[in-house]
Symmetry: C2
Subunit: 232 residues, 2 copies
DNA sequence: GATTGACTCGTATAGCGTACGAGAGGATAA
DNA sequence: TTATCCTCTCGTACGCTATACGAGTCAATC
C-alpha cells in the first residue's frame, strides 16, 4: 500500500543507502526529487507562464509520469508555493567588507528583491497566495535586522517592515502586470486622449505612459525611507 | 451565421426596441447582459472564490446555457477583468460640504480602496492581471487631482501617485492572502519559535502574529505621507 | 412573406488535477 | 534463500474545465 510520504519538516527524502545511482538507461534522467521538481517548475513557469504550467507538462519535462510527482509533492498548489519561495530567497551577496549605511543596505536588498521577482514575472501573480517559506522569512528577517541596527525602535519596527514590504510588493506586482504592453500602449494612449476630459490629471502627467519603472520605484522608495528616517 | 459581437468601445448592447420584456415564462430570468453577467460573477466570486468561478456555474446562476455568456463577453479572463474593475470603482461619497485637508482626503480614499478590496478578497489575487478599467482610472485620477491641489509639483506627481498605489496594493494583497489563518497561526507561532534563532528579529517583534492590520496600514500610510509632505 | 441580425445553447474537443491501486525493486528479517 | 516491507513510479479513470462550431429562435425590418 502506498502510504503518502509524510510531510514532517526535517525529512530528507534521499535514499537511505545513497551508494551509486540506480543506473537506469544510460543518459536517462536522474531520479525525481522535490528539488528537481521545483527547479523544473521554475523553468516551466519561466517558459510558459502560470497558465502553461500543468502537472502533466511538468512531468513530461522531468521524463516522468504525471502521477509520480504526487509522491514528492502534495498537489499543484504546493508546487507553486515552493517555486515562489525559491525565487524569492535572498542569495546573500559576497558581502564586500565595507559596511554600508543602513539606507543603502535596505535599498540594495529591496531592489534585488524586486529584480528577482521581475526575472520571473509569474512570481508576482503567485504572490497573493500566501507562502511564508524560508525564502520570504529570510528576507523579512534581514530587513528587520537592518532597520533595527539602524536605530528603529522595536515598537515601530513592524510598521517599518510591513511598509517596505507592501511598497515593494505593490510596485513589483504592478510592474509585472504592465509588462507585456507594447501594442496596448497605443491603445492606452488613445483611450487616454479620448478620456482626457474625464482624467485631466493623469493625462497631463502622462502617468500611464511613463516608462521609467526602475527610477520611479527608486524615487518612491526614497520617499518612504524619508518618512521612516524622519520618525526617529 | 453568428458573427461575434464586436467590442467597439461605445456600443450599447440593449435591444433596439426596448419596449416591454420578451416575457418568457413568468418568473423567469431577465435577459442576459454584460452588466448582469458581471454582477453575478461578483456574487459568485464572493461566494465561492476564484477557484469556484467557472463559466458553467456562472451560467447556471444566470439561468442560461454556458455558451450564451460568450456572446456578451470574450472569455473568462474578460469576466475577471470586468468584475475586478467593478469592485475597484470609487463610489464618490455624498461629499459632505466641508473641504477636508488633502491628507485626510487621501487617507479616506485609500482606506476606502483597501476596504472595497477586502470586502471581496478575490480581488486582491486578481489584481496582478492588469486591468485598467474605468474604475481604476477614476481612482488614479482622483488621487492625482487631490495631490495636485495639495501642491505636489507635476514633476513629482507620478512618483507620488505610484508610491501610494503601490503601498495600498501591497498592503491589501498581503492582508487578503493572510486572511484565512486561524489554525495556521498556531503553526506559524510554532514554526517561529522553532526557527527563533534563525529569525531573532521578526520573532522579537512578533511580526507575523500582529493582528492590527488596519492600524498598521494606517501607520505605514502616515509614514509614506510624511515622506511626501517633506518633499514640498 | 422573406430576410436579416441579435442572441441562445447543445454538442464536442482537448485538456486539466488528482484518486486509486497495481507493481517494480531494493532493503531487511526469517 | 525466501518472505516481507518500504519507497517510489505510473496507467487508468473520473469529473471537471474553457471554449469552437454551428444550428436554432425570435423580433425587427424591408
Amino acid at each position: 500500500m502506498a502510504a503518502k510520504r509524510s510531510d514532517a519538516p526535517g525529512r530528507k527524502p534521499r535514499r537511505a543507502g545513497a551508494k551509486l545511482e540506480p543506473t537506469k538507461q544510460p543518459g536517462s534522467e536522474p531520479p525525481l526529487s522535490r528539488e528537481r521538481i521545483v527547479a523544473t517548475a521554475v523553468e516551466l513557469l519561466d517558459a510558459e507562464g502560470v497558465g502553461g504550467m500543468s502537472m502533466r507538462r511538468l512531468a513530461d519535462r522531468l521524463g516522468a509520469g504525471a502521477m509520480s510527482l504526487y509522491w514528492h509533492v502534495d498537489n499543484k498548489e504546493k508546487v507553486f508555493d515552493l517555486a515562489l519561495d525559491q525565487v524569492l530567497a535572498y542569495r546573500e551577496p559576497p558581502q564586500t567588507g565595507e559596511p554600508r549605511n543602513w539606507r543603502d543596505e535596505v535599498v540594495h536588498m529591496l531592489e534585488d528583491w524586486r529584480k528577482s521577482m521581475l526575472r520571473h514575472p509569474w512570481s508576482a501573480s503567485l504572490l497573493p497566495r500566501r507562502a511564508l517559506g524560508p525564502g520570504i522569512l529570510g528576507r523579512l528577517e534581514l530587513l528587520g535586522s537592518i532597520l533595527s541596527r539602524a536605530g528603529v525602535a522595536d515598537a515601530d519596527l513592524n510598521v517599518a517592515i510591513w511598509s517596505l514590504w507592501n511598497y515593494v510588493m505593490g510596485a513589483t506586482i504592478t510592474r509585472a502586470s504592465f509588462e507585456l504592453t507594447d501594442d496596448e500602449k497605443a491603445a492606452a494612449q488613445q483611450r487616454l486622449s479620448t478620456l482626457g476630459e474625464r482624467h485631466p490629471t493623469i493625462q497631463r502627467t502622462r502617468l500611464l505612459l511613463d516608462n521609467d519603472w526602475d527610477g520611479t520605484f527608486r524615487k518612491g522608495l526614497d520617499v518612504l525611507l524619508d518618512g521612516l528616517a524622519g520618525r526617529q
